[in-house]
C-alpha cells in the first residue's frame, strides 16, 4: 500500500489530501468535498489538466484565448500547445465556438473563450 499527500487543485480551497492507494484508491482524507476523491483518483492513475492558451487570428483581435472543453492527460499538454501553434482563426467566433475538434486525439475540443468579430 502506498501513501501520498497531495493538494487538490479542483478549486481554490486547495485541500491538502491524504491518500492511501494500491491498485486502486483505498482512502482519501482531508477533502472538503467529493470532487477531491475524484481528483485523487485521477492524479494517481491518470493526471489531467485543463489547457488554456491563445491561437492566432487575422481578425480585429490578433490572438484568441482558447481552452480545452475538458481536462486532458497531463502528458499531452505540450502536444496540444504545439498543434495549436499552427492554427489561424480567420472567421468571427463566439465564446464556446469549437476551434478544433478532438485535439491530438484527446477526445477534447478546443473552444473559443472570447467573442471576436
Amino acid at each position: 500500500m502506498a501513501h501520498k499527500e497531495m493538494i487538490c487543485i479542483a478549486c481554490p480551497m486547495g485541500c491538502c489530501l491524504d491518500v492511501e492507494y494500491d491498485n486502486s484508491i483505498i482512502s482519501v482524507k482531508n477533502n472538503s468535498c467529493k470532487v477531491g476523491i475524484k481528483y485523487a483518483n485521477d492524479e494517481i492513475y491518470d493526471p489531467r489538466r485543463m489547457v488554456t492558451t491563445t491561437v492566432k487570428t487575422n481578425l480585429a483581435i490578433a490572438f484568441l484565448p482558447v481552452k480545452t472543453s475538458k481536462a486532458i492527460s497531463k502528458n499531452l499538454v505540450r502536444n496540444v500547445i504545439k498543434e495549436l501553434n499552427d492554427i489561424t482563426v480567420s472567421s468571427p467566433v463566439q465564446i464556446g465556438s469549437v476551434i478544433k475538434k478532438n485535439i491530438c486525439g484527446t477526445d477534447a475540443d478546443i473552444i473559443a473563450a472570447r467573442n471576436i468579430s
Binding site: 481554490p12 485543463m50 488554456t52 484565448p65 481552452k67 500547445i81 465564446i95 473563450a113
Partner: protein, 412 residues
C-alpha cells in the same frame, strides 16, 4: 453639462458588477467610464481558468467571466464611455464634477451625485523593492509580460527568473514554459509561498520549476540586456550568497497596489495597511458620495469576491441616493494579533457588516475573534488554516450600540 446620478470609474469586474447592481436597485442614470477601449479590465489578459466557481458554479477563464458581466451590463442598458480617462474629481458640497478626457469627445465634464471608484490596481515594480544592479533591458512586471504574451502575442524573453511567488508570477511561470521558454527559478523573500497552493502544484510542480523561499535577488548583471542575477538566501535575518542564475529576462511579481492617484485628488483618505481608501461598512470613503470597491479598495485574490463586494457597494449607493444610509457615528475597526488588515475601517451600530481580512503569516487551527471595546465577543470563528494569500470573510450581524471600537484578532 451632462449630468448623471452615479458615475462608475473603471469597467473591470468591480465597475461592471456595480453598474449592473445599481440598475437592479432601480438607479437608472448610470455612466461607466474606462480608459481602455474595451470593458472587462484585467480579466482579458487572464486567459487561465479559475474564475467564477463561487458566482457561477463553473470554472471560467478571465475573458469568459468578463463577457458574462458585459452581457449583463448590455442587457441592463448600462451606458459606457470607453477610451476615456477620468482625470479629475472636484467635490463641491453635494454636487461633484468629474472631468474626463475622451478619445472621441475630447474634454467632457459630468455632474454627478455619487461616484464609485473601481479603478483596480497596478503592479509594484523594481523601484518599489529596490533591487540593486545595472539597468539593462529585460526587466518586466509579471502582469505586463502577461499582457504581452496573451494579448499581443509577443514573448518577452527566453530564459526567465521570476521574483515573487504571488499567483501572477506562478501563472506566468506555466504560461511562459508552455510557450517554449525556460523558467529557471521562482524566488520568494518570505519563508512561505505567496500564491495559492493549487497554483504551486499546477504551475511549478507540473513543470519542475524550482521555488526558493527565503531567497532574494541581490544583483542584476548585464549591460544591454539582463545576463544573470545573483541570489542570496535569508537565514535568521542574514544574507548568505547562494548562486548566480543566468537568464535574459527577470519578471517581477511583487504585489499590487491600488490605483490611488484619482482618489487622492478627490480628497479620499487612504488606509496605510491596504493602501486603498478608508471606507465604512457601506463602502463610503471620507468624502460623502464617493464609494470604492474591488481591487482599488484592497487587492482581492478571487474575482468572485470582487463582484460580490461591488454589488454590496452599489446597494449602499442606492440607499445613499435615497437618503437612507444610516447616519450614526462610525465605530473604528482595529487589526489585532496576526491581522494584517481589515476592510472596512469602520462599522455602524445596529447595522450588519462584512469584514474582510488577511493574516500576517500562515497559521493552522486558529480562531478568528471580533471583540468590542467592552469585551463582548461579537463573532468567533474556527479556521483549519489561515494564509495571507486567501482573504477571510466574517459576517457581523447587528453591531451593538454603545461600543466605541471593535478589534479583530487571531487567537492561537
Amino acid at each position: 453639462m451632462k449630468s448623471v446620478d452615479v458615475l462608475v470609474i473603471g469597467a473591470g469586474a468591480a465597475g461592471l458588477a456595480a453598474a449592473v447592481s445599481l440598475k437592479e436597485n432601480s438607479i437608472e442614470d448610470v455612466l461607466v467610464v474606462d480608459r481602455q477601449n474595451f470593458a472587462g479590465g484585467i480579466l482579458f489578459q487572464c486567459i487561465h481558468s479559475g474564475f467564477g466557481l463561487h458566482r457561477f458554479g463553473e470554472e471560467l477563464t478571465g475573458p469568459e467571466y468578463a463577457q458574462r458581466y458585459i452581457d449583463m451590463a448590455e442587457c441592463q442598458n448600462v451606458e459606457m464611455l470607453l477610451s476615456s480617462s477620468v482625470v479629475d474629481i472636484v467635490s463641491k458640497d453635494d454636487i461633484k464634477e468629474v472631468i474626463i478626457l475622451s478619445q472621441d469627445s475630447g474634454l467632457v465634464k459630468v455632474k454627478v451625485k455619487a461616484i464609485i471608484l473601481a479603478m483596480g490596481c497596478r503592479e509594484r515594480n523594481r523601484g518599489n523593492i529596490n533591487i540593486p544592479g545595472s539597468r539593462p533591458a529585460g526587466i518586466f512586471t509579471a502582469g505586463l509580460a502577461q499582457k504581452l504574451v496573451n494579448i499581443e502575442g509577443y514573448m518577452p524573453g527566453n530564459e526567465f527568473v521570476i521574483v515573487g511567488s504571488g499567483d501572477i508570477g506562478l501563472i506566468m511561470a506555466r504560461r511562459l514554459t508552455l510557450e517554449g521558454a525556460k523558467v529557471k527559478a521562482v524566488l520568494e523573500i518570505q519563508p512561505y509561498p505567496g500564491g495559492l497552493d493549487r497554483n504551486i502544484v499546477q504551475c511549478l510542480d507540473d513543470f519542475d520549476i524550482p521555488l526558493y523561499t527565503s531567497h532574494i535577488v541581490t544583483n542584476i548583471c548585464g549591460s544591454r540586456r539582463v545576463e544573470s542575477v545573483d541570489v542570496s538566501e535569508i537565514t535568521d535575518g542574514r544574507l548568505t550568497p547562494k548562486m548566480k542564475i543566468s537568464c535574459d529576462t527577470l519578471l517581477l511579481s511583487v504585489g499590487l497596489i491600488p490605483e490611488n492617484e484619482l482618489s487622492i485628488t478627490a480628497g479620499v483618505s487612504l488606509n496605510a495597511a491596504t493602501a486603498g481608501p478608508i471606507v465604512s461598512s457601506d463602502y463610503m470613503t471620507n468624502v460623502p458620495g464617493i464609494f470604492a470597491c474591488g481591487n482599488v479598495l484592497h487587492v482581492h485574490d478571487l474575482v468572485d469576491y470582487v463582484s460580490d463586494e461591488a454589488s454590496a457597494c452599489a446597494k449602499a449607493v442606492s440607499m445613499y441616493l435615497a437618503n437612507k444610509l444610516p447616519q450614526d457615528k462610525c465605530i473604528p475597526v482595529h487589526s489585532g494579533n496576526m491581522v494584517r488588515y481589515v476592510v472596512p475601517s469602520t462599522v455602524k451600530p445596529q447595522c450588519d457588516a462584512i469584514l474582510k481580512l488577511r493574516p500576517v503569516a500562515p497559521m493552522k487551527n486558529v480562531k478568528i475573534k471580533v471583540v468590542s471595546d467592552r469585551g463582548d465577543v461579537l463573532k468567533s470563528k474556527k479556521l483549519i488554516r489561515a494564509i495571507p494569500s486567501e482573504m477571510i470573510t466574517v459576517q457581523l450581524n447587528d453591531v451593538p450600540t454603545g461600543c466605541k471600537s471593535i478589534t479583530v484578532y487571531f487567537e492561537i
